[in-house]
């Protein structure tokens, strides 16, 4: 921190820890007022939209999974859905349920990783899970066991937990037999207890008050908690406005990106306003569609009823949880739900007649979106008559959340300053916590496409 004579100072955190990828933070404070909060994503650009051009229509699932080793299934399935949409193929029935099972595996391992290894140490005052394991060995062992079960689901269906190999257009290269799934069911039954205990454990954490001023965006699917498909749905920040949806094919009309000078990522806006995707948004949009036991878990965690239905006591709709610190509660509930859902799918599993349905190439444009652990992940591809990619666009959740995260930072630091807390170490720690609340995946964020030069450049104040 530098103290300049005009009572301006800059707080900078050159490298954030316990996030996936590389990002830095810079705050400008003038006369005890936060005038600027910037998350500078300096993850090296890898140019995925460019290297996809000219590739075969079968390749985006494997290619884009390399954007993020933390949520490869999300990339594979968003890509599959977008390509299948362009080719006029709808994968449903048993194959769709098997995809959901695979995705549940990724939700379990990825959200558990965040809860135990990245987020919980903030609440308990540890640097990392190793330190936490010395004071809370039973909790850490449970977290690792739960994460391992999520990995086991992905490994059984896909061969390995990072960049699984069995996903293909139209379904899978190979589907498991009922017998092969049986040991997974046994592990998932143990995981059900572990996930319940996780909810109870995080419910005991101390949650500072905070509110994220942003519209919430998540996919919605009739009758089920949306994971691997759905329609983009918004719960506005202004509570006087009802929830609304828009067709996926119009995603880029609503969610627009602009390039900022301090980042290799772009900032997104939803119809010009800040928006947030991820667990808080999913709970607001689909919470009422969780299973009865998952809703019990949510109540046990101290979460209010989901907003989009009558409350349990009949007094009306529940409230929207907008406190990012409490996102860990929703994540824990989602892990519990994913374990339940995985068990349900395995119990009802009948091996599909064929591991995949054919997806012949054709020219056209397709859109696909799924709920990655960190939020809504959108893919759009255009193909020529040969089935070659002519254009690709990927909008990951962290890019959408960046504006909301920066606003969160500004408000949190301002509130701390107003309380008279201005020690650098304290503010830095607060900022890191605020950012980790949103589980940003920086690897996902560093590749964007924006050809609209008119809107691409907010007035630069010089690179950080």
């Amino acid at each position: 921190m530098s103290q300049s004579p005009d009572t301006s100072r800059i707080l900078s955190v050159p490298a954030l820890t316990r996030v996936e990828g590389e990002t830095a933070l810079r705050l400008r404070i003038h006369d005890r007022t936060v005038t600027e909060a910037r998350l500078s994503i300096y993850e090296a650009p890898r140019f995925f939209e460019a290297l996809l051009r000219g590739r075969a229509h079968t390749e985006p699932p494997d290619l884009t999974s390399r954007i993020c080793g933390i949520c490869p299934v999300a990339y594979q399935l968003s890509a599959c859905r977008a390509v299948e949409d362009a080719c006029g193929v709808d994968v449903d029935g048993r194959l769709a349920r098997l995809r959901r099972l695979l995705y549940c595996g990724e939700w379990i391992e990825s959200q558990t990783l965040h809860i135990y290894l990245l987020h919980a140490p903030d609440f308990l005052g540890h640097d990392d899970v190793i330190g936490m394991s010395r004071s809370e060995p039973a909790h850490v062992r449970r977290g690792l066991r739960l994460k391992q079960t999520g990995n086991a689901v992905v490994e059984l269906l896909g061969g390995r937990a990072v960049h699984p190999v069995s996903v293909r257009l139209g379904g899978f290269h190979r589907t498991p037999t009922r017998t092969e799934l049986r040991p997974l069911a046994e592990r998932l039954r143990v995981a059900l207890d572990d996930a319940w205990d996780t909810v109870q454990w995080v419910a005991g954490f101390d949650f500072p008050d905070a509110e994220c001023e942003a519209d919430l965006l998540a996919l919605a699917e009739p009758g089920t908690y949306a994971i691997e498909s759905g329609v983009p749905t918004v719960v506005p920040y202004d509570a006087t406005h009802p929830a609304w949806s828009f067709p996926l094919r119009t995603f880029c009309d609503h969610v627009t990106e602009t390039q900022v000078p301090h980042s290799t990522a772009l900032h997104s806006r939803l119809d010009g306003r800040r928006h947030l995707t991820g667990s808080l948004a999913r709970y607001a949009v689909s919470g009422h569609l969780l299973s009865p036991t998952a809703l019990e878990a949510a109540a046990a965690a101290g979460l209010d009823d989901p907003p989009l239905r009558e409350g349990r006591d009949g007094t009306g709709p529940g409230t929207v949880c907008r406190n990012p610190f409490r996102s860990i509660l929703v994540r824990a509930v989602e892990v519990f739900y994913a374990v339940e859902e995985a068990l349900r799918i395995i119990t009802e599993y009948e091996r599909p007649a064929s591991p995949y349905v054919p997806v012949p190439a054709r020219s056209g444009v397709g859109h696909g979106a799924t709920e990655a652990p960190r939020g809504l992940l959108y893919h759009r591809y255009a193909f020529d008559g040969e089935g070659r990619v002519t254009d690709a666009r990927i909008i990951p959740p962290t890019a959408q959340n960046q504006g909301a995260i920066e606003e969160d930072l500004r408000r949190s630091v301002q509130a701390a300053l107003d309380r008279g807390q201005d020690a650098e170490a304290e503010l830095t720690r607060l900022c890191e916590r605020v950012i980790r609340n949103h589980d940003p995946c920086i690897s996902c964020s560093a590749h964007f496409l924006d050809l609209n030069l008119e809107t691409a450049c907010p007035h630069p104040t010089g690179p950080a």
């Binding site: 460019a50 290297l51 290619l63 990392d128 899970v129 391992q148 390039q259």
Partner: protein
């Protein structure tokens, strides 16, 4: 880490360049071994997993990702200087990764495709392996690396011996696993005969042809494989795309050298 390190424990560093984070995540995926590993090693630098970041020197540095930006050029030298042993993990670090596809296109075109204001973006024209810049003590292949192989490498360096990592092709692993050959039995194009082992022949086990994510084996005869792939319905452009993906620089080198 949280407790002051016992002086006897060797110090481990984990470093990231341009990558997807999947290879360092593999370390966190060693759930059963993770806490044991933390007893054996002082995990001094692993920002993704810990807020406690200690400066060097490190006895063993695991380096993920490729050299892609001007800042990387400097940092890779600093990491090397601070490390007794430096091991690169994954296809980005060992071959430049999928982002090395830009080496064969124009960086200006790539920048203009993705960014409206390329002048804000710091990027080198190429994505290159760590070994192109500094000496490397061992390269662990894979996109992503295999968890078992990572543990073998970390254990071997702890014991002061050479890691027991085989150099043969995927076909050997396939036979050991008892798989029916997907090419011979089903006419599925497969890069197994020219690809480095390490994954445990995953793709053929799942009824899929190997797509080369561990890069070329130490000795390959690519020209002998091409007619088979033609027979199974691939044209030259398909074969080129197949080879030019996650280990594009390594397979390109093999193509240029001929059989070796």
């Amino acid at each position: 880490m949280s407790a002051p390190p016992a002086p006897s424990r060797p110090r481990l560093g984990v470093f990231k360049f341009a990558s997807c984070d999947g290879c360092q995540l593999t370390l966190l995926d060693c759930e059963d071994e993770l806490l044991g590993l933390a007893d054996e090693w002082d995990i001094a630098h692993f920002p993704e997993a810990s807020s406690a970041v200690a400066s060097g020197p490190y006895d063993l540095s695991l380096v993920e990702g490729s050299v892609s930006t001007p800042e990387h050029l400097e940092r890779v030298r600093r990491v090397r200087a601070a490390s007794r042993y430096l091991v690169t993990i994954g296809a980005c670090a060992t071959a430049g990764g999928v982002q090395a596809l830009r080496n064969y296109a124009g960086i200006e075109e790539y920048l203009a495709t993705v960014y409206a204001r390329p002048d804000y973006i710091q990027s080198l024209a190429t994505s290159t392996p760590i070994a192109a810049h500094v000496p490397v003590d061992f390269e662990l292949r894979g996109c992503p690396i295999d968890r078992g192989q990572l543990l073998e490498v970390v254990t071997a360096f702890l014991a002061g011996r050479k890691p027991a990592i085989p150099n043969h092709s995927v076909c050997f692993s396939c036979k050991r696993r008892g798989n029916v050959c997907v090419t011979v039995a089903h006419g599925v194009p497969c890069l197994g005969p020219v690809t480095h082992a390490g994954c445990g022949a995953l793709c053929p086990t799942y009824g899929r042809g190997c797509y080369g994510c561990f890069g070329p084996a130490d000795t390959t005869n690519l020209p002998a494989l091409v007619p088979l792939m033609h027979r199974d319905g691939m044209d030259d452009a398909d074969i080129a795309r197949y080879l030019h993906t996650f280990n594009v620089t390594a397979f390109t080198a093999v193509e240029e050298e001929g059989p070796g």
